[in-house]
Symmetry: C2
Subunit: 198 residues, 2 copies
């Protein structure tokens, strides 16, 4: 059972990995009202967490994603170097995501607008350009690392989906389109039959 808010951020890659892998799970979505009571029962006071075998609670989205990826055959557990190449993409996309999450709670409108402008015009273009370069080095074709889909592709899909959706004021929805390999991975995950169904 995967417990998370009803949004497509930190918990979404693990939901998608389980879905793509055909691993049945209970998709528990928490609203703002029930969160305060639940908070103290979680490992670190945070969502998402995963409940395994009804009893073991595992927190931290990064660990949950790797575990879901292992079950779904989307994380190369038995090939540590390949896993490290997947990890570097997953962590870099975390850095990309964290850069916008930091601006979400800024209450000063002028500061928020400036932070989004810096993100859109300088910080993210640099981060997506280095992501594109790293993918070019390690991709075996259409996926980020090697020749099959991994959790790295799912991470890329989730951040590009969020940007494309126009969720964040000041961030152009077409920001990622000129990074051709990044964009192709987004399209490839988006058109996966299980993702279309989801």
């Amino acid at each position: 059972k995967l417990t998370y808010f009803n949004v497509s951020m930190r918990g979404e890659p693990a939901r998608l990995a389980l879905t793509i892998g055909g691993i049945p799970f209970e998709d528990e979505r928490i609203n703002g009202e029930s969160w305060p009571a639940l908070k103290s029962t979680t490992p670190f006071g945070q969502l998402p967490f995963l409940t395994v075998n009804g009893t073991t609670r595992v927190a931290q989205s990064g660990g949950i994603l790797r575990y879901a990826g292992a079950l779904a055959n989307l994380y190369p557990c038995t090939d540590p170097l390949k896993a490290a190449l997947v990890d570097q993409v997953v962590f870099h996309v975390d850095d990309i995501s964290n850069a916008v999450y930091c601006t979400i709670h800024e209450s000063d409108a002028a500061k928020k607008s400036l932070a989004r402008k810096t993100l859109a015009e300088s910080k993210w273009p640099q981060m997506f350009a280095s992501l594109e370069r790293v993918i070019t080095q390690h991709s075996g074709g259409k996926w980020a690392v090697g020749d099959s889909m991994t959790v790295a592709d799912i991470q890329i899909y989730v951040i590009v989906s969020l940007i494309s959706s126009g969720l964040w004021d000041g961030i152009p929805t077409d920001l990622t389109e000129k990074y051709s390999k990044v964009h192709a991975i987004y399209k490839a995950v988006q058109s996966h039959p299980k993702v279309v169904e989801w």
Copy 2:
């Protein structure tokens, strides 16, 4: 070859994992002078990175630590649920570390002092208390997860060492001593023969 600055922060757990596991590696330490020229040649413009077989550069400290842990038999690659339990500790210690790293570059002395006070009196006590509780659930004895040392223990050792060293103004050097399991893990890693030698 592991390339990082000559400090004991993000790259240190991987150095220790390789050392404890007896995996030979070149310990390349970069100074401020040579960093600007090196920066553009790294995968994401950051240190640490690992060079494998002389050619493949792998970035992101979290991925490097897991890879080093896999080589050193300190990361349970073949048991995904146990790996997720190790990961949740590693990620939580990253959160603990990031909370102080955020205060390092604050140039306003009053703001920095307030941030350190909040960290020392409220934020870190909560974070170490939840770490202690999670260890209690999953430890098989003296280590954080199960009955042998993992990279989770090394992460704990590094953050407790940094706190104990008095590196950060406003943070009491004995802050972690009342968390008995956390402190016992710190002592156990500290007294490992390879760490004593290091």
